[in-house]
Subunit: 350 residues, 2 copies
C-alpha cells in the first residue's frame, strides 16, 4: 500500500497529463463504463465551540484503469463573521492541519493500492475539468484571459487554460491588492489590474476562481464569442446563464446531494446548495462535461456564441482517473512510502 | 494514526464490553444523537473471469464518543455452483487475502484516528446486536439454546447468548458432520446433534447463523415462549414472521439499500435484496433494535409470546461504537502500530 504526500503528487502530475487522464474517463462515464456515487455527507455536532463536524465522501470506479477511488473530507467547520459577512472556515484542528484523503482500491484484486491527502489532486482536477471545458468550448483564436480570483485555485485555472490555448495577455483581479500582485509576481506573463472591469474588458475567456458566495461575473460583460467558466455555482447567476448560448455543467447527478444532517447541529446556514444549482428546472437543463467530450451534446458552433462551463462540483471518478495516473507514475519513479499490504488485508471474511 | 490487526482487535474486545458499548449508541441513534448513512455500493466489471467487483461502504457518527466510522468492503465476487446451487464466494485475490477496512475519524478534530481490518469487529457486532435483542426479548428463565450453523458467526452468537442468559444446554446443528463436531469440540458445553429437528426440539432460544440463501427455521418449530434470531433475512420467511408475536429488525433504514450497478456486470443475481426484507410493506412494519433498547417499542410482555430478532444487516454506527471502544483500549494498553499523523493530514485545504 503506497502512501503519497501532496508534494509527491504535485511533482508526479502535470496539468497536461491530468487532463489527458480525465478526458477518456468522462467519455466512459457517459457510456456507463465508469460509475460514481454522488456526494454523501454526515453532518453533526462537534466539541469545537460554535462549529460542526462535516464528513463528506464521494466515490467512483473506472474498470478500464482497474481503480475505485474514495475521497473523504473530515472537517470541523465554523462560520466566523469577517468584514460583515459570514465566512465558511475549515478549522485546522488535526495538529494544525486539515483532513482530506483519497483511497484507491483495485477493481481487479480488491486491494487498497494507495492513500494520499486530497489537496493537490483536488486542485488539479478542478483545473483539468475547467481546461477540458475550455478546450472544447472556447474559440481556437482566443488571446486574452481574465482571471477573477488570485488564490490557489486560480493558479490551476491558469495552468489549465494555458495548456489548451495560447494567450498573449493574461490579467488577474482580486479585491485585495497584495493577493493579485503576489499572483502576478508568481506567474510569468500575468498582469494584476486594479478593477474587475479592467480585468474583463475585451477578454476572450473569463474564469472565476473565488470563494465568493455571491455572483462575481456580470451579464453585461458577456460580449459575443466569449467563453466563461467558474468553479463554484455561486459565482454566477441565472441572468448570466440566460445570456449564454451554450452552458455545460460538470455533472448533473451532483444536484442529488445526499446531505445528512443531525438535528441540533449549529450554524448550518452555509452547508446548503444555493442559487440556480439548487433549482432542478434550471440545473437539470444543461448537459454535462462528459456529454460534451463524448460529442453527445454539441459544443461551440459559431464564433459569436457565448459559452459557459458553469459548475465544477467534484466527482469521485476524477480521483479514480487522476489517482490511477499518479499511482502509475509513482511506481515508475519509485516515489512514496510502501506499507505492508498485510496491514490492510485480512485472512477472514465475514 | 493507529493501525490495528484483527488479532489485536480480538484481544481488545470482549463480547460483554462490545454489547455495553453498543447499547447506549442504539439509544442515541433513536434520539438522533447518532447518525448513519445507509449502505452504498458501486458494483462493476472486474478483470477476474466470471466475477464482478463490489465496493461497499457504510458510515456513521456518534458525537458522544467523538467518532465517525467508515467501513469499506472491496471484494471480487464470483458465483460458482457448489452442490447444485450457486454460492456467493468472495475471492481472496489481495495476495491470497480479503479486503475489508474500518476507518475511524475524530468528530472533534477531523483526524483519522485508526484503521483496521473489519473481520473480527464485524463478527463481534453481529453477535452483540443478536445478544442485545436476546437480552431484551427472550424469557429470563431460558435454559436450552439451539444453534443452526457451525461457522465463525455461530461462535459469536454463542458468546453473545451466553453473555446475557444462563443456558444449561446448548446444541449445534450444521449439515456437515465435521463442521458441527468441530464446533462442539471447540466450544465447551456444546453438543453436536445429527438433525436440525433434534437441535430445535424443546429449545427456548433458536439462533440461525448460516450462509443459506433459503429459510432454515420452520414455522412449526415455534412453540410458545421461544425466542428466535437470525443474522440474514433469508434464513426465515414471512410464514415464520407471521407466527411471531413480536418481531424486531436491526435497522429499517437499511431497506433503502443504495445499490449502484454498472450495466454489463456479469453474474449479479445474488446481489439483490431478497424475500420479505425486500418488501417494504412487511419489513417496514417491524420496529428497530434501537426502539426496543430505548423502550420506544415494547419487548416481551408475556412468557408465552414468540419473539424474533429478524434481520441483522450491519450499520456503520456499530463500527463507531465498537471502534471507539477498541481504540480506547488499544491506547490504554499500548497496542497497535502508530503511523505519523502527517501522512494523513495536509497543510492545504481546497
Amino acid at each position: 500500500m503506497l502512501v503519497l504526500s501532496n508534494e509527491e503528487i504535485a511533482r508526479l502530475l502535470t496539468m497536461e497529463d491530468c487532463m489527458a487522464a480525465l478526458e477518456p474517463m468522462y467519455r466512459d462515464y457517459v457510456d456507463a463504463r465508469a460509475m460514481l456515487s454522488p456526494r454523501l455527507d454526515n453532518i453533526m455536532p462537534t466539541a469545537h465551540e460554535g462549529g460542526y463536524y462535516a464528513f463528506k465522501q464521494m466515490c467512483g470506479g473506472w474498470p478500464a484503469q482497474g481503480v475505485q477511488a474514495l475521497r473523504i473530507n473530515s472537517d470541523i467547520v465554523t462560520h466566523p463573521v469577517m468584514g460583515g459577512k459570514p465566512r465558511r472556515v475549515k478549522q485546522p484542528l488535526a495538529g494544525g492541519r486539515w483532513v482530506g484523503l483519497v483511497l484507491l482500491f483495485s477493481t481487479d484484486t480488491g486491494q487498497l493500492l494507495a492513500m494520499f491527502p486530497d489537496g493537490v489532486m483536488q486542485r488539479m482536477r478542478v483545473g483539468a475539468a475547467s481546461g477540458l471545458g475550455l478546450k472544447h468550448l472556447a474559440r481556437e483564436n482566443v488571446s486574452t484571459l481574465a482571471l477573477i480570483g488570485a488564490g490557489w485555485q486560480a493558479g490551476a485555472q491558469l495552468m489549465a487554460a494555458r495548456a489548451v490555448r495560447n494567450f498573449t495577455e493574461v490579467r488577474v483581479y482580486s479585491p485585495r491588492r497584495e493577493s493579485r500582485e503576489a499572483f502576478a509576481a508568481g506567474n510569468e506573463g500575468v498582469r494584476a489590474v486594479d478593477s474587475v472591469e479592467a480585468c474583463v474588458e475585451g477578454a476572450d475567456v473569463i474564469l472565476a476562481a473565488t470563494s465568493s458566495m455571491v455572483p462575481v461575473i456580470e451579464p453585461k460583460w458577456l460580449r459575443p464569442g466569449v467563453h466563461i467558466g467558474c468553479i463554484k455555482s455561486e459565482e454566477i447567476d441565472g441572468e448570466v446563464l440566460d445570456r449564454c448560448d451554450r452552458v455545460f455543467v460538470h455533472d448533473r447527478k451532483q444536484r442529488k446531494h445526499l446531505s445528512n444532517v443531525m438535528p441540533g447541529t449549529p450554524n448550518l446556514s452555509e452547508e446548503r446548495v444555493r442559487g440556480w444549482w439548487a433549482e432542478p428546472a434550471r440545473s437539470g437543463r444543461y448537459p454535462d462535461l462528459g456529454e460534451l467530450l463524448a460529442e453527445r451534446a454539441p459544443g461551440r458552433e459559431r464564433a459569436d456564441e457565448i459559452t459557459c462551463f458553469a459548475n465544477n462540483v467534484g466527482i469521485g471518478l476524477q480521483f479514480a482517473a487522476a489517482g490511477a495516473l499518479a499511482l502509475r507514475k509513482a511506481r515508475e519513479q519509485g516515489v512514496g512510502k510502501e506499507l505492508p499490504d498485510e496491514w490492510f488485508t485480512e485472512d477472514v471474511h465475514p
